[in-house]
């Protein structure tokens, strides 16, 4: 009776199916736990959280240098920038836009630096549905390999004020 004190000798090991279930549940928990280190060793999609402290203004400067050196065009007033294959790429999040538009090559691996100039943001790469957090003061580095060509949409998925839903950007893979 869950509303009354149990008898004095209540400390007993479980029996029968209850015992079996506890064993099965524990085994399942261990399987789920081991899947994560396994995927770090043999899987291809991981979040290592690689990041460096950076002043927002300093990061903005780096982005501007990157854009200046690698701009190849313009899309709706936003520079389109093509980093060297396998090189460093920069993406700046701010209220309420993504800057610049990156043009990447399928099959190449890039070190993509993302940070915020103001509030917290979230990068959501669609329709792939890959999501990472973007914080001011943190240069978040994703070592990413686009494997399929196309035009992708980037939306912000961390609330960043009244214009949050308008914070939409592009990413092009050739």
């Amino acid at each position: 009776m869950s509303l009354e004190s149990p008898e004095k000798d209540w400390f007993k090991s479980p029996k029968g199916t209850e015992r079996v279930w506890i064993g099965i549940a524990l085994a399942w928990c261990l399987v789920m736990f081991l899947m994560m280190p396994y995927w770090h060793l043999f899987g291809k999609q991981n979040s290592t959280g690689e990041a460096y402290k950076v002043e927002p203004r300093q990061f903005e400067e780096r982005v501007n240098q990157f854009v200046e050196a690698n701009q190849v065009g313009e899309l709706d007033g936003v520079p389109v920038v093509e980093p060297a294959p396998g090189g460093e790429a920069y993406l700046l999040a701010r209220m309420w836009s993504w800057y610049p538009v990156l043009k990447l090559r399928a099959g190449e691996t890039y070190r993509l630096h993302i940070s915020s100039l103001d509030l917290q943001h979230g990068i959501s790469l669609l329709p792939m549905n890959m999501n990472f957090q973007v914080l001011p003061g943190y240069d978040h580095v994703l070592t990413i390999t686009p494997t399929s060509a196309g035009e992708y949409t980037i939306v912000c998925n961390e609330f960043c004020g009244i214009g949050h839903s308008l914070m939409v950007g592009k990413l092009i893979v050739e």
């Binding site: 004190s5 007993k12 914080l135």
Partner: protein, 595 residues
Amino acid sequence: MKSEAENEMSDVASDVRECTLGADTTESSNRWSLRTLASGWRKCDSTGLPVCLDAQFFIRINAVFAVIFLLIGGIAAILLALTRWETVNLLPSDWFYRMLTLHGLNMLIFWILFFEIAVLYFACTTLLNAKLFSRKVAWVSFGMMAVGAGMVNTVIFQGQADVLLTSYLPLLAHPAFYLGIILVAVGTLVGVFNFFATLYMARRYRTYIGSVPLVTFGATAAAIIAVVALLHGAIVMIPTFMYSMGWVGQPDPMWYRMIWWGLGHQSQQVNVAAMVAIWYMVATLTTGAKPLNETVCRGAFVLYILFINIASAHHLLVDPGVGATWKIWNTSYAMYLAVLASMIHGFTVPASVEVAMRRNGHIKGIFGWLTAAPWRNPAFSAIVLSVVIFGFIGGITGVTLGTQQINIIAHNTLRIPGHFHATVVGGTTLAFMGLTYYVVPLLFRKDYILKRLARIQPWLFAGGITLMSVGKSFAGSMGVARRTSDIEPAAEAYGAAVHVFLGMLGVGGVLAFLGLLLFVLLTVGTLLIGKSNAGRPMECWGKPVDLGRHDTPSSGGEEEHKTPGTVILVGIFLIAFAVYYFANWTALADVWPVR
């Protein structure tokens, strides 16, 4: 002198054991043991349990305030659902975020904390035959919580705190917002202190024999986790309040996230522990169920206390600045030992009901006990639905989305609210509603009005929440972000099917809101015009089963119980779990390589 008093106490204690209620055992000066007091308590007309009148008063006002906040949060909820239902898209963005802030705080914080304080006061008095430690402390707690909640809601309506529940720095609200939250948190801690002080007095003066009942044990687990959660709240909210006043510099946003979620996620574990305690309580009240094995049930609560406190990581899985090892260890609650605890409760609760039903002669087939269960009792259907929704939708999605790498395809999408509406609404809120169907007749002493409507209420609410959660989950799998007023600006990024799922979200939200409204109307209506049942057992759902009968041992564990129905149910659960879990790994393998 002291030892003499103690001897006297132990005499009283042995008297209490045989005490037929109301018998004169008041020779001692034990002012903590209800049954020996001349006044300040009453014997429950339905259960025979002693009710501390002080506790009853504070349970009542905390429960009433809880329901008020539930209604405020519910009105915000329907506006939000009608906005996320993209075809309707009701609110402009400023009001959407304002209502989202209001909804989060009233539902997740105020409704739940006020109700939990009521549960704690019940678990430490009636179940232990003890008097509430202090009226003054209870007033201080209630006053701080009510003032704090009032401040928060006012400042939200003034439009000076459009920062959502999480108020992630550098986003900044009016100082009154943080101060209000601090008041609610400290007020809750004061109430929790009252609970622990009552436990101490009950033990010190032996108002009960042996170990505390399982429900009190579970409530204690919830209280311990609450202390840890609220301390995190103090650590993060006090500097943020000081920053908002301009007294100190801005705290680091990453640090804020980590500590805030030490409050935010752990509060949810308080809810889980309180909800499970209520599962056991309502199972007993409605079917006379007894735990199969007290050691197992209590051990599972201990696992919660030990391991559930590191869940902050669930929100930082794709964050910069925290390493993978830290993420893996913490997100899994140290190898999923807290998940193990929930899987144990998920077995023992239905198994105890099955054993109780079979003992009462419902032995036909594998599920005869289930079809013969008291389905006409809304408290029973509410907790059954709570167990099912919490386990099958909330639990399975929660563990999967909280897997470190799978979080890449889930973080901040609608999959996340899809998950936690199944745990904290379909699970916790529904369990609280189920318990209310007993709180009102037993502690407000009114029989429910409109019983037929009450019988469908849990189904309506559960159906709505399930539809909404599933709609959210699927829309989220297609990349739709949470906390966004409108997806139109990125419309080309989503398939057309997304509107079907957002429609499900909307329709589910409407149904759940109707279920919530029905609950509030029935409960408030009963308080206002319900028939008093003072002096006789409650009538609405029949007398609670089996209480006060000591002929069947409560510890169990001696004999082996046969529970074939439960075995099949948990088998189905495990298969569903594994299928969903590995389907998500497969989906993850399809996205771009990243590290």
